[in-house]
Every structure is written in C-alpha cells, then in structure tokens.
C-alpha cells in the first residue's frame, strides 16, 4: 500500500460525491475534471513520479487509466444524448455519474492494489456498481440483464473470495501483507486445501471474466449497459479479473500440480473460443456481437496465461490491444444506437458507412483490428499468444485448435459485418442525424482509432522500460 492508493481512492470518491451534489448543469464539468485528474495520474506514472508494486501492475494501470479517461470523455456527449432520448430524470443522470466514478475508480484500484483481498474487494465494488449502471436505463431488458449479471457474477465472486483465502492463507502466507508475494508465516495447511482454493479461484474469477462456460451473464449485460459502461466492462473489468486469478495461481504454482494452475486456464480459454466461434456468426445486434467477441478474446488471453513464456507476454499485450479496440467498438455501437435508434441491422442500422462515414469508418477499422488483421494492434498480441503456444510441444495441438477457431470467428464476422456497413436501408429509414454526425461523439473514437492502428507496437516503443520490465517479470514467472 502506498500514498498513490490514497491519491486514487480520494479523487474517485470526491467525483462520486460531487456528482450527487452539484447542480445538474455542472455534471459535465465534474466529468471533465475527472478526465484531467486521470490524465495527470497517467502522466505521473509514465514519467516515473510514482512507482507501483510491479511492472505488470503498472502496465494494467496505464491501460486502465487511458480507457477510463477516454470512456469518461465519451460519456459526456453520450449520456447527454441518451438521457434526452430516453427521458432520464435528474436522479438517473446523477446516478450515472456518481456510479461511473465508483466503477472506474474501483477498476483502477484493482489494477494498482497489491493485496489479494483488497483486489477482490475492488473487483466486487466494480461489479456491484456496474450492475447498477446496467439496470439504470430502467427498461425491461436492462433490468433482466442486470438481474442475471448480479446473480451469476456474485455467485462466482464469493467463490473467488473463498478461493483467495484458501490459496493465500492455505499456502501459509500472510493474507494481510501488502505485496504480491506475501511472506510465509506458517506451514502450508495442506496441498489439497491449496488445490481446492485454486479450483475456486479459477471458477470464481472466470465467472467475473466471462469465460465460458461461466459467460451466461455477459452478452446480456454488455448489450444492455450504456455504451461507455460496456466498453469498460469488456476492455478492463474482464481482464482485471483474469489477471487476479493468474496472480493467485502463479503464487502457488510450485505447491500444487500443474493440472491445478495452467490446465484450467487453457481449458477455459479453449472453451471460450469454441463458444465465441459457435455463436458470433448468429448475432444481429452489434453490441451482442462484440460481447461474444469479448468472450473469444478473453479466451485468447486465458490461453496465453496458460501457455506461459512468449504467449504470456502476448496475453498481457493483448489486454492492452483488446482493451483499446473493444472500447472503440463499444463506443461506436453506442453512437450507432443514438443515430439509428438501434444497433440491430434488421431494425435499421444499415448502410452505416454511406450515411454516417465517420461512424462507419470507425466500425470498419475496429472490426479489421479485432479480427487480428496485420498490422493493426491486436494482430501483434494474438500472434505472440498463438506462436507462443506453437513453440511448446505440449501445447502445440491446443494452439492449432485455437488457430482454427480464430479463423472460424474471422469468417463468421466478415460474413456478418457487411449487413451493417453496406447493405442499403429502406428508403424511409433515415438516420437520427441525416447529414452531420456529432463530432463530440466522434472525437474520442479518433483517439482510440489511432491506438487500434498503432498501439500494438507504439506502447512498447513509447515506454520501452515498462515493456522490458513487464517482459522480464513474465518470463521470470
């Protein structure tokens, strides 16, 4: 625990409190102030003013801060229009901004805290606040998604709590220590206890991360939540939960057989790829399509963590590349919902490239990136994960199956995407804004577009010492 922990916690709480108390017309200025704080915090980390517990925590924090900053920036015009369109009252608007500060703040906390119980607590706060945000629109489908999200992920969350305690305390380590490598304070309770703990950790955090077969909440929650919330859920929260599981499994990998640590990650990763590949081609709603894509990409990250070595480095790079690309795509889906009143191509979200060129271009670019086309950002990380799997004889077959499933996803998505991009709509199906796209909605996406193009190489090049530290830490693991 360090002073930066206080520096993170207080601004988030302060922003939440301000959102509840200031006059409504000032809410957007509270949000802008929050973006400025996040930018300063990011600059502090990048320039080395603050040091976090280890390079991986710093990597996650840099990714998280950037996604939260862009998400807050996008939220200002998005929520203003969404609220106007669906007649949100004052308490809904205040509720959104206040809970957004808690949600994003707790996610950043989960990135930078170095106590396993505190990380669990931060992920719990993020879950509960995002359940509220998902149900906030108050319509039938949003409430159903919120209900399912709460019950499935909380059952997993409490399994994760018990598993965390069982793994850390059961392996004889000090649960109260603020370090990723808590000191041994007594002998291991029993190897079986630690193994049971590993199983609960995997099940619990896999549920939070939306890995199949614990993914049932994810497509509904991602498609019903306001677009900035979906973006942060997919780009950051899922990955943070998976990293928590990875850290706990790494902590005890020498105390339990490999079957309890690496194999579950590989099995869940492969299972998620199968679910993504099987269902992505049948989606008509853009947000649901990207939700299934998230299951697939978290599966890839899980595979990378299970493979280890080069693939592990790829998995952590993929957290960044998937985060920026999926944020772009969810923001883009939100803009499409606002402009066309739907993101379902059967109900009018068609010919997007022709009628709203900026939004259509972002969709085309984001789709090409998330499918792993070179030289866009996710290509490099997916390449590292799959090549890392192929390099090791004992994971080669799994890597080959994964490559086949990624190709299925590629074909299914490229067959589906033209229905949004090019298919002409009905003559009377004019978009919400016939000619002009609100630049306030487009500008944050431009930043993400640049990162989706160049981020795969740019971040390691721009921050070589951080990237070197992350690689060394992961190769040493």
């Amino acid at each position: 625990m360090n002073e930066f922990w206080v520096g993170w916690l207080l601004p988030a709480l302060f922003a939440a409190l301000l959102a509840l108390t200031v006059p409504l017309r000032w809410l957007s200025w509270v949000a802008r102030g929050y973006v400025v704080y996040l930018t300063v915090a990011l600059a502090g980390i990048v320039s080395g003013w603050y040091r976090l517990a280890d390079p991986v925590a710093t990597w996650l924090y840099v990714t998280g801060t950037l996604l939260v900053a862009v998400g807050t920036w996008y939220s200002v015009p998005y929520i203003e229009r969404e609220g106007r369109l669906h007649h949100w009252n004052a308490s809904q608007r205040r509720g959104y901004w206040s809970t957004w500060a808690i949600f994003s703040g707790s996610l950043l906390g989960a990135c930078l805290l170095d106590n396993y119980l505190a990380i669990w607590l931060a992920i719990e706060v993020a879950t509960l606040s995002s359940v509220y945000l998902t149900g906030l629109p108050g319509v039938r489908t949003a409430l159903e998604a919120s209900w399912k999200y709460l019950f499935v992920t909380e059952a997993g969350g409490f399994a994760a709590l018990v598993g965390t305690i069982w793994v850390v305390a059961g392996s004889g380590r000090a649960i109260q220590a603020w370090t990723f490598n808590p000191p041994l304070v007594h002998q291991t309770i029993s190897p079986q206890a630690v193994a049971v703990g590993c199983l609960l950790v995997v099940i619990g955090y896999a549920t939070k991360a939306g890995l199949a077969p614990f993914h049932t909440w994810l497509p509904d929650a991602h498609s019903e939540a306001p677009a900035p919330v979906s973006a942060l859920l997919s780009g950051l929260k899922l990955a943070v939960a998976l990293v928590a599981a990875y850290r706990l499994l790494t902590l005890v990998e020498r105390q339990v057989p490999l079957a309890w640590t690496q194999v579950p990650l590989i099995a869940l990763g492969l299972c998620s790829l199968v679910v993504g590949a099987a269902l992505i081609g049948f989606q008509h709603d853009l947000k649901r399509l990207w939700a299934y894509s998230s299951i697939e990409h978290l599966g890839l990250i899980s595979l990378g963590m299970g493979f280890g070595g080069l693939a592990l480095v790829g998995a952590f790079l993929h957290i960044w590349t998937h985060g920026v690309t999926k944020s772009l795509l969810f923001h883009n889906s939100g803009t499409i919902r606002l402009l066309y009143s739907t993101s379902d191509h059967r109900r009018g979200a068609r010919a997007i490239l022709q009628t709203t060129p900026w939004t259509g271009s972002a969709l085309a670019l984001g789709t090409a990136a998330i499918l792993g086309l070179p030289p866009l950002a996710p290509f490099w990380s997916e390449w590292l994960i799959l090549v890392g799997g192929l390099q090791q004889p004992h994971t080669r077959i799994v890597a080959l199956v994964a490559i086949a499933l990624v190709m299925v996803v590629f074909v299914a998505t490229t067959r589906r995407m033209p229905q949004w991009l090019w298919t002409p709509g009905r003559a009377d199906a004019t978009p919400y804004s016939q000619h002009a796209e609100p630049m306030a909605l487009v500008t944050p996406s431009l930043v993400l577009m640049v990162l989706a193009i160049a981020g795969g190489l740019a971040l390691p090049v721009a921050m070589p010492s951080l990237w070197q530290g992350v690689s060394q830490q992961l190769f040493g693991a």
């Binding site: 706060v125 509960l128 039938r140 489908t141 209900w147 059952a155 709590l161 018990v162 206890a193």
Partner: protein, 213 residues
C-alpha cells in the same frame, strides 16, 4: 472455545438451511439474523483466541450491518413476499433435506481431510456455504433470491474469517460492507423488477432471446 466455535458455525449452517425452507419474507429476515449471529460469533471466537481486541471492531460492524441494518432495509421487500410455495417444493422436502444431508456429510469429510486444526468447524461452515449456493438454484421469487444471495455472502465471509482470522481489520470490515452494498442493490433491483414487470417470480420474466425472436 472449540465448543463456542462449533455453536457459531452451526448457527451459520442452520441459517442457510432455514432460508431454503422459509415461506415468507419476515421469517427469512429472522433466519438471516441467526446466520449473521453465527458469523459474528466465529469472529468473536477468533478475537479471543488471537488475543486481538481490535478484531472486536469487525464483530461490532457485523452486528450493526447484518443483524440490524440489512434486515431493516430488506423489510421493504416484505410486502412482495410470495407465500404459495417454498424452496422445498422444487425438489420436494425429502430430496431437499436428503441433498442437504449429503452436502453436509461431504463437507465434514472435506473439513477433516484438508483443514487440520479446524476440521469440524470448517466442515460445518463449508456445508453452510454449499447450502447457500444450493438455495440460489431452488427458489424463484425475487425477494427470496435476494435472501439467498445474502446468505451466500454471509457464509462466504464466515468461511473467510474462519480460515484467515488474522486478516487486516479494514479489509474484513470492507468484506462486511460488500454485504451492505449488495443488500441496497438488491432492494433497488427487486423494486425495479416489480415496477416494470408487476411480478415477483423470475420464471415469468421473458428471456432476452425470446424478445429477439
């Protein structure tokens, strides 16, 4: 203190079982208070065993939050209590209690095998945890599912405080406050579902996929 720990653990177990069988929301509140009393008892025993009076703060927070505040908040759900059926009707009373016995026996065995020093107590609390998870799959009314989730919360934190009594006090209080946040969220969600759907049985909610045809 072993006896005290066993009594406290048994209260947690009894609360989990009672919440499955209960027919009305006010009665669920009583069973939940009993379960929370068991959790507070387990932490109190740890306070005594470890000679750590600061842990008393955790006991106080559990008493205030779980025995007083959460039942008070959830009383708002009482008018929505459905008394036509109980969790016992999903599988039948015999099958439900048979399953509960099996889970308890299995958990006691797990406790004996993997948690030396806390065998019986850990076994009972693990059994309570599994019963609470079973509860989630047995009931369908929104008000009762809310209690089921809170039961999972209480049994999980009881298990956590049993296996790692030396955890940081602020984090232990944080875990208890998660239960409070969960209760507030559940009240909001159940009320919203009731307002939009006018039903209290989640089986009557249409699945999203149906909407999409």
């Amino acid at each position: 203190m072993e006896i005290a720990a066993r009594v406290a653990a048994s209260l947690v177990w009894l609360g989990a079982l009672g919440l499955i069988a209960v027919k009305s929301a006010p009665a669920a509140s009583r069973w939940y208070q009993l379960q929370a009393l068991g959790e507070a008892g387990l932490v109190a025993v740890a306070t005594w065993d470890l000679k750590a009076p600061a842990l008393g703060a955790v006991v106080a927070v559990i008493v205030v939050v779980k025995i007083w505040f959460i039942p008070w908040i959830l009383r708002r759900l009482s008018p929505r209590g459905h008394s036509a059926y109980t969790g016992l009707q999903s599988l039948g009373p015999a099958a439900t209690f048979g399953l509960a016995t099996l889970l308890t026996g299995g958990s006691l065995w797990v406790g004996l095998q993997v948690v030396p020093g806390l065998e019986v107590v850990a076994g009972i609390v693990v059994a309570a945890w599994l019963l609470a998870l079973l509860h989630l799959s047995l009931r369908y009314e929104t008000w009762n599912l809310a209690w089921a989730l809170l039961s999972v919360d209480t049994t999980s934190s009881a298990l956590a405080s049993l296996l790692a009594p030396q955890q940081s006090i602020s984090l232990a209080i944080g875990v208890t406050l998660v239960g409070l946040a969960l209760a507030v969220l559940l009240v909001w969600l159940v009320s919203a579902v009731a307002r939009v759907h006018s039903v209290f049985d989640v089986r009557r909610l249409n699945d999203l996929k149906e909407r999409e045809g």
